[in-house]
């Protein structure tokens, strides 16, 4: 019998909605897709853009206009986004949550994913951005609530890293 318990992706989306996320921008990813579907079901527009730095540009504009946007990307897309983060999001003081699907880590079988997976946290730290790993389904609520508090209150980028362990457990 299939369980009627919501998946961790659905609960993550629900927490984002409860925390006030108004719009989500993303570049498609298999692990992020159920989050996007749930966000759309909850009435949050899901904008599929052409590159990850475009997602950061969109979210920067939305936030600068007083909104609460969300960015969802695969960690390889962080590499595409470094300049948008470094010369727009950070200097302008634009805080919003980012859900990053981690590739190139435990369980990865694609060699091309390994270098960016290995450097994701280091790249963020080099930019002065603190990230918040999510490794267990039962940590969804505190991590999302905490990250949204950081984005909204402390006005800095708040990346939530979806660790591979979420699906390996």
């Amino acid at each position: 019998m299939p369980s009627s318990e919501p998946t961790w992706q659905a609960r993550l989306a629900d927490e984002l909605v409860e925390a006030g996320v108004e719009v989500a921008t993303w570049v498609p990813d298999k692990r992020l897709a159920p989050i996007g579907i749930r966000l759309a079901e909850r009435g949050v527009p899901l904008r599929t853009l052409t590159r990850e730095d475009e997602c950061f540009g969109y979210a920067a504009g939305h936030r600068a206009a007083g909104g609460t946007p969300l960015v969802m990307i695969q960690c390889s897309g962080l590499g595409n986004s470094i300049n948008a983060i470094g010369s727009l999001v950070i200097p302008y003081g634009l805080g919003f949550p980012v859900v990053i699907s981690m590739r190139g880590t435990l369980g990865e079988r694609n060699p091309a994913q390994m270098p960016l997976g290995r450097t994701t946290v280091a790249m963020l730290e080099a930019l002065g951005v603190q990230s918040f790993p999510l490794s267990r389904p039962d940590a969804v609520a505190p991590v999302v609530r905490g990250a949204l508090a950081v984005a909204d209150g402390a006005r800095v980028l708040a990346p939530i890293l979806l660790d591979a362990e979420l699906e390996l457990t």
Binding site: V23, R47, T50, D53, E54, L88, Y92
Partner: protein, 182 residues
């Protein structure tokens, strides 16, 4: 016609608009033409100004929004033309200032066809081309949104104000203007 004259014509036709300007000439010209109005001036992040303007337009659907873009900027963020057509905000006009050069880095030529209006038309966007301030003003006033207005100019003098803006001040002033309290 020079960039500041172009932007003055834009602001005459869309006086209450929230404007997002790309780094370099567009930001300097907007600062000059608006006397440092509370707009979202980009000091870097080349290629993201149109995406940012789409975000502004979606947050503030009741306001007119203008993306003021250099030609090199538009190339670097070309994917956002597709997003403009796909999302199709009904309150957003993209204006490309076309002089065929990367001005702020020392006037290097673009090296590719400057056919922004043609690309936008192929994407189904409303488009127009302008070569005088009068044409700019008329098209900004009459084009359906979303649209792309291509403005060609040959007087390539630097508009004056620094394009290196004080980012937190820009953001604070812009958010107030977007909320209607500025």
């Amino acid at each position: 016609m020079n960039p500041t004259e172009i932007v003055r014509a834009v602001l005459r036709a869309a006086p209450g608009a929230l404007v997002v300007s790309s780094l370099g000439t567009a930001t300097s010209a907007l600062r000059a033409a608006s006397e440092d109005g509370p707009h979202l001036y980009m000091g870097g992040s080349m290629g993201t100004a149109l995406a940012a303007a789409i975000g502004v337009a979606e947050k503030r659907p009741e306001r007119q929004v203008v993306a003021l873009l250099g030609d090199g900027e538009t190339l670097m963020g070309a994917g956002s033309l597709w997003s403009l057509a796909g999302i199709a905000p009904q309150n957003l006009l993209a204006i490309v200032l076309v002089d065929g050069h990367y001005t702020i880095t020392g006037d290097q030529p673009l090296g590719v066809p400057a056919v922004f209006g043609d690309v936008a038309a192929a994407l189904g966007l409303a488009t127009a081309a302008a070569g005088t301030p009068e044409e700019v003003e008329a098209h900004v006033g009459s084009l359906a949104r979303p649209a792309l207005l291509e403005v060609r100019y040959d007087e390539r003098s630097w508009p004056g104000p620094s394009p290196f803006v004080d980012a937190p001040v820009v953001r604070w002033r812009f958010e107030r203007a977007a909320r209607g309290v500025g």
